[in-house]
Structures are given as structure tokens and as C-alpha cells.
């Protein structure tokens, strides 16, 4: 009898789930009619599953409120952010290239020309100043000398010789 109960217990879950063949089910049903112990186990199996279902269903009631914010929109925002960053980088690069290509070379050319022009002017002014000083030293005509100095001041105003010429006039 004991052994029979052990064998039956092995099959009670499948019996409870209705997974046994008709022959096997009939054998179990016959045993259950005679054995109160196995009957109580079967009832406990069914009852515990019923209560587990209640607990799970309660959890399900809680999850009913769950709303799933599918993050497709978030992905869009991320793409637009990437696009904005890329556009920003592109803008900076373009500005930098345009600056280097147009502004800086032009500035270099102007500086060189200016320097060259100033050297030439300085040389001319120095030669004229030297001539005017010689004239001042050996000539009696003060008006002619002053006119020479004034010419230097008017023609090469940015040179240091123009400043010296101005002082001579005074």
C-alpha cells in the first residue's frame, strides 16, 4: 500500500493537470477513492495552484497600469541632436577654411607691399633730407631750403625724415 501511494504521488501532478492517459487516470481515480492521504495531497495540489494563480493575478492587476513609452521618439531626438552637432562642426570647419583661404593670405600680401613701400619711401625721404641739409649748410636762400623740407613733410609724412624735416622748418 505504501509503495502504491509513492507511485501514485509521482503521478498526482500530471493527474491534476489532466495529462495522463485514460487508463492511468482511471487507476489513480480508483486509488484516490480508497486512500484519504493521497486525496488530501491532490486537494492541496489543486488548492495551492489556485492560490498561486490569485497571487500572480494580483501582480498582473498591478502591471495593468504599466504604460510602455516605446522610445522611438527619443531616438529621433537623438538623431536631431547628432545632426545639430555635425552641422555645428561643419560650420566651424567651413568658417575656418574660408578665413584661411581668403582673409589671411590677403593680409600677408598687404603687409609685404606696405613694408616694401615704406622702405622705398624711407630711402627716398632720407636721400632728400640729406640733400636738403647740404643745401641748408651751403645755401644762402632760406626759402628754398624750407621748401625742400616741406616737400619731404608733404610727400613722405609717415617717415621719420618727415618728422626731422618738420623740426628743421620750425
Amino acid at each position: 500500500m505504501e509503495k502504491s501511494c509513492e507511485d501514485i504521488k509521482e503521478m498526482l501532478v500530471d493527474y491534476s493537470d489532466g495529462r495522463l492517459s485514460t487508463i492511468a487516470s482511471n487507476k489513480i481515480a480508483e486509488h484516490l477513492r480508497k486512500c484519504e492521504h493521497c486525496r488530501r495531497i491532490l486537494e492541496a495540489l489543486q488548492r495551492s495552484l489556485e492560490l498561486a494563480g490569485v497571487i500572480w493575478a494580483d501582480g498582473l492587476a498591478e502591471t495593468k497600469e504599466i504604460r510602455i513609452p516605446i522610445p522611438v521618439k527619443a531616438r529621433k531626438v537623438r538623431w536631431s541632436r547628432y545632426a545639430a552637432i555635425a552641422a555645428g562642426i561643419l560650420l566651424v570647419l567651413t568658417t575656418s577654411i574660408v578665413w584661411r583661404a581668403l582673409v589671411r593670405p590677403a593680409e600677408k600680401e598687404m603687409n609685404f607691399a606696405e613694408i616694401e613701400r615704406r622702405i622705398i619711401e624711407s630711402g627716398n625721404a632720407a636721400r632728400l633730407l640729406a640733400a636738403a641739409e647740404l643745401l641748408d649748410e651751403y645755401s644762402e636762400d632760406e626759402a628754398v631750403v624750407k621748401e625742400q623740407y616741406r616737400y619731404i613733410v608733404d610727400t613722405y609724412p609717415q617717415t621719420s625724415e618727415a618728422v626731422k624735416a618738420k623740426l628743421k622748418i620750425q
Binding site: 504521488k9 509521482e10 501532478v13 500530471d14 491534476s16 488530501r40 495531497i41 486537494e43 492541496a44 495540489l45 489543486q46 488548492r47 495551492s48 495552484l49 489556485e50 492560490l51 498561486a52 494563480g53 490569485v54 497571487i55 500572480w56 493575478a57 494580483d58 501582480g59 498582473l60 492587476a61 498591478e62 502591471t63 495593468k64 497600469e65 504599466i66 504604460r67 510602455i68 513609452p69 516605446i70 522610445p71 522611438v72 521618439k73 531616438r75 529621433k76
Partner: protein
């Protein structure tokens, strides 16, 4: 699908853009009820469940056309949800709901729906089963939930958990007997 706000679903479809994403969303939304059962059955709180399902939806959208049929996609969704739940579950098992809370909520919903044909549920019995589920080893709890609460058969449960159907059946038997014995041990007459 009924549980989802229709505006939201339309919004998501529009944003999804490509056809494959729309199909994936369709399947995800159609199976959401079942996925929620898995989340609830494995004892995750609403907050944790929301995180899990959000992750699953992201994975579903990212998944490229690896699975051809709808059945494959559904199986994949269930598998990912179970795995994600298990990850969460390992961190904290959260059958936080007490028997009295369950019964209170149940009596409220019963009043609303006038269900009088159900058996009266004893708080003590409920607490015993709740505790037993909480103490049940994960290897037995997961097959229990998938088989009895998510209505999957042993073969499907085995595929999801990477087990033989016979192993699933033996674990189910073991788990069921543990719960039944706890009820009997505590002297509660079923």
C-alpha cells in the same frame, strides 16, 4: 492592444517609420498582455516590470530581420522578457504584496464585478502559498509561472529556459508538491 492608449500607439507607429519596425511594434503590442503576465508571475513590481518591458520594446525595435515568422518573433519576445525578468529577479525577489492586500484588492474587484461564484480565499492559506512561492528555488518558480500562469506547454517552457521538456515536467512536479506539502504541513485543510 486595448491596454495601450491608441494615440500613443499611432504616435509610435509614425515615429517607427520603416515597415519592419511597425511590424515589430505590432507584435510587441499584441503580445503585451502575455508579457505582462510573465512580469507579474515572476513577482516583479509594477515599476520593475515597466523597466523590463521598456527594455524589451527597445530590443524588439533594434532586432533586425533575424526572425522570419510571427511565431518566431513571439517566441523571441517571450524569451527576452523572461531573461530580462530573471536578471531583475536575481537582484531582488519582490513578492512584496501581503495576503491582506491581495484579499482587499480582490474583494474590491469582486464587488465591482459581482463575482459570487468563487471559493472564499482564506488569508492564512494565501500567506502560506505566497511565502512558499517566495522561497521556491528560481529553477522551479520560472517553469511554474510560464506553465500555469502564461499557459505555455512544457516544450515551449523548455525552449525559453533552455531545458528539456522532461526536465521542465519534473521541476513542475517538484514545485507543485512543495507548495502542496507546505499547505498540509501548516495544518490548513484544503
Amino acid at each position: 492592444m486595448n491596454e495601450i492608449n491608441s494615440d500613443f500607439a499611432a504616435d509610435a507607429y509614425q515615429a517607427a517609420g520603416e515597415q519592419s519596425s511597425k511590424q515589430k511594434l505590432d507584435i510587441f503590442l499584441a503580445e503585451l498582455g502575455r508579457l505582462k503576465r510573465i512580469v507579474a508571475g515572476l513577482g516583479l513590481s509594477a515599476q520593475d516590470g515597466e523597466d523590463v518591458l521598456q527594455d524589451v520594446s527597445i530590443q524588439a525595435l533594434k532586432q533586425s530581420g533575424k526572425y522570419q515568422s510571427r511565431e518566431d518573433s513571439v517566441r523571441w519576445l517571450i524569451k527576452v522578457t523572461v531573461n530580462r525578468c530573471l536578471m531583475e529577479h536575481r537582484r531582488r525577489r519582490s513578492f512584496r504584496r501581503r495576503a491582506c492586500e491581495i484579499l482587499k484588492r480582490r474583494s474590491e474587484s469582486k464587488t465591482n464585478s459581482n463575482r459570487t461564484d468563487e471559493k472564499v480565499i482564506d488569508a492564512e492559506e494565501l500567506e502560506i502559498v505566497r511565502e512558499s512561492l517566495q522561497e521556491l528555488d528560481d529553477s522551479m518558480l520560472w517553469p511554474m509561472v510560464l506553465r500555469y500562469f502564461c499557459d505555455l506547454n512544457s516544450k515551449e517552457v523548455g525552449e525559453i529556459l533552455g531545458l528539456n521538456p522532461s526536465t521542465v515536467r519534473s521541476r513542475l512536479r517538484e514545485a507543485r508538491m512543495i507548495l502542496a506539502k507546505r499547505l498540509l504541513e501548516r495544518g490548513v485543510e484544503p
